[in-house]
Symmetry: C2
Subunit: 335 residues, 2 copies
């Protein structure tokens, strides 16, 4: 057994467009380092990973550890990552070309590395110690700037044939939209347009730009129309604001239809909702649960994610620990 | 090793509402017995299984075998069967109450038995030697009297939290239907109503019952309105009959939206379509593929099932062989 597998510390890194969350867990799986860093702007893959490993080394040294004490590292990325290939494709947040990041990482760390999509990592995290703890069949949906989803089926991550499972932004829930050219070259799909934070913000600004309409929403945005975001709309709706409730009706109905259809299809034990649009309280989850329950005879168990923006880093740790464990047992690694 | 595991013959039995298909494979997996029997009417579970094992014994004896030479038996049923429980629930074709069929089967056979839903068995069958051979991520949809679906994810059957995955008859693909009370006590869901053979037949009879409408459909049904079935409509549409194409437009659009949404969600390697409505040629599959491809950016690989009504029995053999094999290796049986 090499030194790298002895210590049993693991690092989980959740790379986002604006923040990078680094978490290191001890051999028992308890987080002992947590740090939120600002994502460097305009960096290429080479300089990004050099920066990342320098920051990681600095955090570790404070606890008398170094990178080679880690038995594994998990990294979650906002993009599609090939199953065993380590090739990062379609990462719009970074505007990088499709690239195999493994040789770059190998310069700084030669131990076990697990790379995956950030939404998959968040699902692992919620499954490990969050809202889906102990569940074998999980659907996770994150509703933020865009819409993403991830699955755990039979206790394993499910990614689909091209690692592209979970592209629910493209869902069609209203057949009168059939004649549009969905998902072909557009940034957002029709479902994403209606239900994402971006879409809710646009709908609210459009609605309130017309004169004579009263709502708490504008107040919450400091009286400035251009500053209205989805969180203002959701919070105002939760407080009973009629205009906000009206604006939320379409996104809530669309999400309810989408979730009800996924429940009819997949019969998950739990549907975990996370992301900026839903994390302001129970209003969103309760509304979607009530509406979705009327649209499928199967049980609709919708819950709020509990790990917030730490889910991805925890999931990266869980994945790294599992990979290291399977590696030691010389078992087939299914991811 | 007991005698039952020595011979390596396995039986696959697909129980349907009108027919029971029995197939026996030799140790190499080659079918050596195939027989289609008429399902006894009005039988209770006790007399049904007595009849079934008598028939099986008769078929085996012709080849010098008996039931106890089988190393495993797989049985597919039109209903929901608990994962490890062997409890048959919700089997409307038989009007039996929820019942644990294992003690009944045990009277006639004490070896390895694998029970499952008929659609799951058909998916196993197509995966073993049909249209989804060698694929690890498969969605199968059967479009017959009703609508059913089954999944293979990461190379394993996926059944969901309550073994109820695949209830796509309840899908909502048109949000103007939201106000209806879907799936609550109704026999068919809104998607099933539009897309099933039953639904297509009703739509055609309704349309043609109004005077002055010309179509090949009525001809194909021998000129008798009440005899019109979905297969007449699909065949006439495939031959270019304008009325039939018009009637098929809604079921094809609904199915295309449903499949496109499932593809966006699950990114399967292949979507296999089977059942009476689709098996008359390429027309249905081509139409649905063309329409669905416009509704998702992910690859839509739709193919026709190749094993026809033998898929369920083959799948039952595949499942029985896998179970016997895992049992011998003392590996965890995940189904």
């Amino acid at each position: 057994m090499s030194r790298t597998q002895e210590s049993g510390y693991t690092a989980g890194i959740d790379v986002g467009g604006t923040k990078v969350f680094v978490c290191v867990a001890d051999p028992q799986g308890n987080p002992v380092i947590k740090s939120k860093l600002r994502t460097p702007t305009e960096s290429d893959p080479e300089s990004f990973f050099r920066w990342l490993f320098e920051e990681l080394a600095l955090l570790l040294v404070e606890r008398g550890l170094q990178v080679y004490d880690l038995s594994g590292i998990g990294v979650g990325f906002p993009g599609v990552i090939g199953d065993n290939a380590g090739i990062l494709t379609n990462a719009p947040a970074f505007r990088w070309p499709a690239i195999d990041v493994r040789p770059i990482i190998l310069k700084y760390y030669t131990g076990s590395v697990y790379l995956d999509n950030d939404v998959n990592m968040a699902a692992w995290g919620e499954n490990w110690m969050g809202a889906a703890q102990g569940k074998r069949h999980v659907m996770m949906i994150t509703i933020g700037t865009g819409i993403g989803s991830a699955f755990i089926f039979n206790g394993e991550l499910y990614k689909g044939a091209n690692n592209a499972a979970g592209e629910i932004g493209n869902w069609v829930v209203d057949s009168c939209l059939i004649n549009n050219d969905h998902g072909k070259g557009e940034k957002f799909g029709p479902f994403e347009e209606a239900t994402s934070g971006t879409g809710i913000g646009i709908a609210a600004r459009d609605y309130l730009s017309q004169g004579g309409r009263k709502s708490k929403i504008l107040e919450m945005a400091g009286g400035i129309l251009e500053r209205i975001e989805a969180k203002h709309v959701v919070t105002a709706a939760a407080e009973g604001d009629e205009t906000a409730k009206k604006i939320m009706d379409r996104p809530l109905n669309y999400m309810a239809v989408g979730i009800a259809n996924a429940v009819s299809l997949l019969n998950p034990e739990v549907v975990v909702l996370g992301g900026g649009v839903v994390d302001s309280g129970d209003y969103y989850v309760n509304e979607v649960r009530d509406r979705a329950s009327k649209l499928t005879p199967l049980p609709v168990n919708i819950v709020l994610a509990t790990l917030g923006n730490e889910a991805g880093a925890y999931g990266a740790i869980a994945a790294a620990r599992l990979k290291a464990e399977l590696h030691q047992k010389k078992e087939k690694i299914n991811f």
